[in-house]
């Protein structure tokens, strides 16, 4: 009698998965574009100190990095266990920093050179003596904008 006959045995229709690859590809491209493969291999221990008042570094192309820390275990036989400076992919002496920074600055176009920032990525266990020497070298190279690279976290640890 009823006009609205209940459909029998319908079940749920299969959802088409044809567009699944598209979705996955979309995500894939997103991650491919945002991925930054670490440009340098770290030769030094690098646990950055905590800070809460962090300002982000904006223009990546204007930032030069200086890594400071104890050499990793496998390099200790060659270079010893005292904290060292790493520029690009090699250990460097403190007095090489000036030349390095100047070379990096030459690579930036002239209008933006004053905006160049040197980010000091130092391990939290480094002593200030080394950091001060680095800062002194940067002053000699007349690169005055610096950034103490930090992690986000509470500072009152111990």
């Amino acid at each position: 009698m009823s006009k609205f006959k209940k459909k029998t045995g319908g079940g749920t229709p299969a959802i088409s998965t044809a567009s699944l690859p598209d979705i996955v590809f979309m995500l894939l491209f997103f991650f491919m574009v945002t991925t930054v493969m670490r440009e340098v291999t770290l030769l030094v221990e690098n646990i950055k100190p905590n800070a809460t008042e962090i300002k982000k570094l904006e223009r990546k192309s204007l930032v030069t990095y200086i890594y400071v820390g104890k050499p990793k275990k496998q390099y200790i036989p060659q270079v010893g266990s005292e904290p060292r400076v790493q520029l690009n992919d090699a250990f460097a002496r403190v007095n090489e920093i000036q030349q390095y920074v100047i070379t990096e600055r030459e690579a930036i176009n002239e209008a933006e050179r004053p905006l160049m920032t040197v980010s000091i990525k130092a391990d939290e266990d480094v002593k200030m003596g080394l950091i001060t020497d680095i800062k002194q070298e940067l002053r000699k190279a007349n690169t005055l904008k610096i950034n103490y690279s930090t992690r986000k976290g509470e500072v009152y640890g111990d």
């Binding site: 998965t17 491919m32 100190p49 800070a51 939290e124 266990d125 480094v126 800062k135 610096i146 103490y148």
Partner: protein, 186 residues
């Protein structure tokens, strides 16, 4: 023309999703949304003659950090968590009454006004970098606290929400003057 009749077999694209997933997972794992940030500072030019002489003693907040990680501010040993408030008190003191926006009580051993107040950090060569950054962080926090307060008073928003002109205006109320002495043995 036999080749025209040849039927090209259809390639099964069913596993395409799997391949894409594989790549996706690889990039997911290797991705580091590397946001490098930290505490930004400006070093003094090397040629500049030190001008410490003209700063009156009360306008200088001496922060000393020794090799054992102890802090001394204005000849008193303090703890790291007290530094922020001590700095705020120092900057916000309004010693000569010329600072209309300050909320300090005008003690006569702290700064006369924020324009003249200078924070001086002195550290030992053996001072741990961790502590140095912590001190820089606390000083920045003190300035940020005051700037935020003024930003709210003037514009009803936090300092970070302001546009750059407004930020400049607030910055001028509490200019960050942090001077660093050459390291000595403390």
């Amino acid at each position: 023309m036999a080749w025209r009749k040849r039927i090209v077999p259809e390639i099964n694209a069913g596993s395409m999703a799997d391949i894409a997933f594989l790549l996706l997972i690889f990039f997911l794992v290797t991705t580091t949304m590397d946001v490098d940030g930290g505490i930004q500072r400006k070093l003094p030019p090397i040629s500049e003659k030190p001008s410490e002489g003209i700063i009156h003693k009360r306008n200088l907040l001496n922060v000393l950090i020794n090799a054992r990680g102890q802090l001394m501010v204005q000849d008193q040993e303090i703890k790291l968590h007290e530094l922020r408030q001590a700095t705020v008190d120092f900057l916000d003191n309004n010693g000569d009454g010329s600072c209309s926006y300050c909320e300090g009580i005008g003690l006569d051993n702290l700064s006369v006004n924020p324009q003249k107040a200078v924070v001086s950090i002195q550290n030992d060569r053996e001072t741990p970098y961790r502590l140095y950054v912590a001190v820089q962080n606390e000083l920045t926090a003190a300035y940020n606290e005051l700037r935020n307060r003024e930003a709210r008073k003037l514009f009803g928003q936090g300092f970070n929400e302001l546009n750059s002109a407004q930020q400049g205006q607030v910055q001028e109320l509490f200019p960050m003057k942090i001077s660093e002495a050459e390291p000595v043995d403390l």
